[in-house]
C-alpha cells in the first residue's frame, strides 16, 4: 500500500477504504455536520420539508446560533426563531444558542476528535482540521444533502505541506503565518487541496493558535487545513485521543519549508488578505478603529496576546473587542485578561460573528480606517465599501490601537 498523508488517511477512513489516491472521487460517511443560524435551519428546513425527509442522525448534527445574535431587528428575530424551533422538531440536542462562534464553540464543547470526517455550513470550517479531523465548509444545499444521506462526495485532495522549523519570535503568531502564506501564494495558493502544517514551530503552538492556521486555510483557498494530533490536542480536549499523522514516507504535492524565526508581524492592506507585507511597510498608516473579533482573531489565546501588549497602556482610538466565545470571555475575565483590555479602553461586544461577517450593529462607516484581527478585508465585507480595512494579528491590532497608527507590536512587548 502506498504511503498515505494525514489527509488521505482521514478520507480513506470515511470512505471505508484502506487507502485512497489524490484525484479520485469518493463518497464519504459524515461523522459530524455543523451549521449556524445563517446558513443552517433557515435554509435547510424548507428543503427538508419539500423532500419530506428527516435528518439521518440528529446525534451527529450540531447547531450553533452565532451570526444573528443578539437579535437586532425583525429579520434576525425571525431567523433565530426558525433555528430554535427547528432543533426541537428535528430532535437535535447539540444546540448552542448565543454561546459564541461555531468554529470555537464546536471543539470547546468536545464535539471534535482526531480521525473524524466533518462538514460545516461555513467557509471557516477547516478550523476543525487543527484537531486532525478532516473538516471543510459546504453551502446550504450540500448541507441538506448530508442531512438527508449522511454522505458527501469528495475529490481526494493532494497535500500541500507547510513546514516551519525553529520557533516563532515573540510578538509573531499564527495569524502572521497565514497572512504571510496568503501574501506569498495568493488566495488560491491552497488550490482547494489539503494544507498540512508541520514542523517544530507548529508543534510548539497551543491549540487555538493551530485553529487560527487551519481557519485561514479558507483564505488560502484550501479545502481544509490539518495539524497532526499530539499531546497538545489531548490536553485541550481533556481526554485521551488517537494520534493521527501521515505516514513518514507519504509524498507531498508541494512541500514549502520556512524558518519560523525569520517571520515578522504581517499586515494585509485593503481589500484582500493577499495584499500582505511586513508591518514596517505600514507604520505611518493612521487608523481610527481597532477591532479584535471573530473565530480567526478573538479566541482566548488571541485575547491573551492583545493583553500582553495592552498591559498598562491605553488605546488612542476606538477599540472594539468581541470575544469569540462566552467561555473564552469568562476565562479571560478570571485570568485578568479582560480587565487589561477594558482598562485600555476596549468596548466589549457580544460573542458573535458581528462585524467580521458584515452583521449586527457596529458595521464600519464610510470614513473608517480599521485594523482588525479578522480573516477577510474584502471591499464592503465589514460595512461600507468606502471603509478601509487592514488585517493584522491580535498583537498588531492591540499595538496599533495604542499608537493610533499601524504599529509593530514587538516594540511594546
Amino acid at each position: 500500500m502506498t504511503a498515505q498523508t494525514l489527509a488521505q488517511k482521514l478520507v480513506a477512513k470515511a470512505a471505508g477504504r484502506a487507502a485512497v489516491t489524490p484525484g479520485e472521487i469518493v463518497t464519504c460517511k459524515v461523522d459530524l455536520a455543523m451549521m449556524h443560524d445563517s446558513g443552517g435551519p433557515r435554509r435547510v428546513k424548507p428543503m427538508l420539508e419539500r423532500l419530506g425527509a428527516k435528518v439521518w442522525d440528529p446525534s451527529k448534527v450540531v447547531v450553533i446560533a452565532d451570526h444573528y445574535v443578539p437579535e437586532f431587528d425583525d429579520q434576525s428575530r425571525k431567523i433565530l426563531k426558525i433555528a430554535r424551533d427547528w432543533v426541537k422538531e428535528a430532535g437535535v440536542t447539540n444546540f448552542y444558542d448565543t454561546q459564541g462562534i461555531c468554529h470555537v464553540v464546536l471543539p470547546e464543547r468536545g464535539h471534535l476528535r482526531p480521525g473524524m470526517f466533518a462538514v460545516g455550513g461555513d467557509s471557516h470550517s477547516p478550523t476543525g482540521g487543527a484537531f486532525a479531523a478532516y473538516m471543510f465548509g459546504v453551502g446550504a444545499t450540500e448541507l441538506l444533502g448530508v442531512l438527508v444521506t449522511g454522505e458527501i462526495w469528495l475529490k481526494v485532495p493532494h497535500t500541500i505541506a507547510m513546514d516551519f522549523s525553529g520557533k516563532f519570535s515573540a510578538g509573531v503568531c499564527a495569524k502572521d503565518v497565514m497572512l504571510s502564506l496568503i501574501g506569498r501564494l495568493g488566495m488560491d495558493g491552497g488550490e482547494y487541496q489539503a494544507v498540512e502544517y508541520r514542523g517544530a514551530a507548529i508543534r510548539a503552538l497551543p491549540m487555538q493558535e493551530r485553529m487560527t492556521l487551519c481557519n485561514m486555510a479558507a483564505e488560502l483557498g484550501a479545502q481544509t487545513g490539518l495539524v497532526a494530533s499530539d499531546s497538545v490536542t489531548r490536553d485541550f480536549l481533556k481526554t485521551d485521543v488517537e494520534t493521527w499523522d501521515g505516514d513518514e514516507k507519504a509524498e507531498f504535492f508541494k512541500h514549502h519549508k520556512f524558518q519560523a524565526e525569520k517571520l515578522a508581524p504581517q499586515v494585509a492592506a485593503p481589500h484582500s488578505p493577499a495584499n500582505t507585507k511586513e508591518v514596517k511597510e505600514f507604520e505611518n498608516t493612521k487608523i481610527n478603529l481597532a477591532y479584535i473579533g471573530a473565530c480567526t482573531g478573538a479566541k482566548l489565546e488571541d485575547l491573551r496576546m492583545a493583553a500582553k501588549v495592552l498591559k498598562g497602556r491605553k488605546a488612542k482610538i476606538r477599540f472594539l473587542v468581541a470575544p469569540a466565545s462566552l467561555r473564552d470571555q469568562q476565562t479571560a475575565e478570571k485570568e485578568g485578561v479582560l480587565k487589561i483590555l477594558t482598562d485600555a479602553g476596549a468596548e466589549i461586544l457580544p460573542n458573535s460573528c458581528g462585524i467580521c461577517a458584515g452583521y449586527g450593529g457596529h458595521l464600519l462607516p464610510d470614513d473608517c480606517v480599521a485594523i482588525s484581527s479578522t480573516a477577510r478585508n474584502f471591499k464592503g465585507r465589514m460595512g461600507s465599501p468606502q471603509a478601509q480595512g487592514y488585517l493584522g494579528s491580535p498583537y498588531t491590532v492591540a499595538a496599533s490601537a495604542v499608537a493610533g497608527h499601524i504599529a509593530d507590536p514587538r516594540q511594546m512587548l
Binding site: 455550513g121 453551502g139 441538506l144
Partner: protein
C-alpha cells in the same frame, strides 16, 4: 449568450453583500455585484454568462452568492479557476461553472456558446476555447436542476 466580464478573486461578498443576507434571494439579488458593477443586477438578461478571472467565488460558504446569479437568470459561469466551495455550491444549485484557461480572451458583450463536454465558442470573435469537461456526476446535477431536485428524484425512486 452575452458575456459579462469581471476580474480575479471576484468574491462572495460582492455577489451577496453581508448587509442584505438577512433578506430573501429577491432582495440579495438586487445588490449582486453592486460594489463593482452597479448596473449589473438591473441590466443582466436571462441566459447571460458571467466570466471572471482566477479564483472566482472566493470567500464565504454563503450559497446566496451563486443563487443570486441564478436568480438573475445567469445561465453559466466561466473562469480560469474557481474557489472550491463556490464551485460545489454552483453545481448544487444547478448552475454550471466552466473552467477555461482562455477565459481572459472573452470581452464584455461577446456572444458565447458553451458545450459542457469541453469547449466554448466565442461567436463574436469566431474563436473556440478548450475548457475542462464537467465531471459526469456534476453534469447529472446540472441536468436535474441541482442537488435538491436530484435528491427528490432519488428519494422517489427509493
Amino acid at each position: 449568450m452575452k458575456a459579462w466580464v469581471f476580474g480575479d478573486n471576484l468574491d462572495t461578498d460582492m455577489l451577496a453583500p453581508g448587509g442584505y443576507m438577512k433578506f430573501g434571494i429577491e432582495e440579495i439579488a438586487k445588490h449582486c455585484l453592486e460594489s463593482v458593477s452597479p448596473k449589473f443586477a438591473s441590466e443582466v438578461k436571462a441566459g447571460d454568462i458571467v466570466v471572471a478571472g482566477r479564483n472566482f467565488g472566493c470567500g464565504s460558504s454563503r450559497e446566496q452568492a451563486p443563487e443570486a446569479l441564478r436568480h438573475l437568470g445567469v445561465s453559466a459561469l466561466v473562469a480560469p479557476s474557481f474557489a472550491g466551495l463556490f464551485y460545489r455550491n454552483c453545481f448544487n444549485l444547478g448552475l454550471p461553472a466552466v473552467v477555461c484557461a482562455d477565459a481572459g480572451k472573452i470581452r464584455p458583450g461577446d456572444q458565447l456558446k458553451i458545450d459542457f463536454a469541453g469547449k466554448i465558442e466565442n461567436l463574436t470573435k469566431s474563436e473556440t476555447y478548450a475548457c475542462e469537461p464537467i465531471p459526469e456526476h456534476l453534469q447529472t446535477l446540472v441536468r436535474d436542476g441541482g442537488l435538491l431536485p436530484h435528491l427528490e428524484k432519488r428519494l422517489r425512486r427509493a
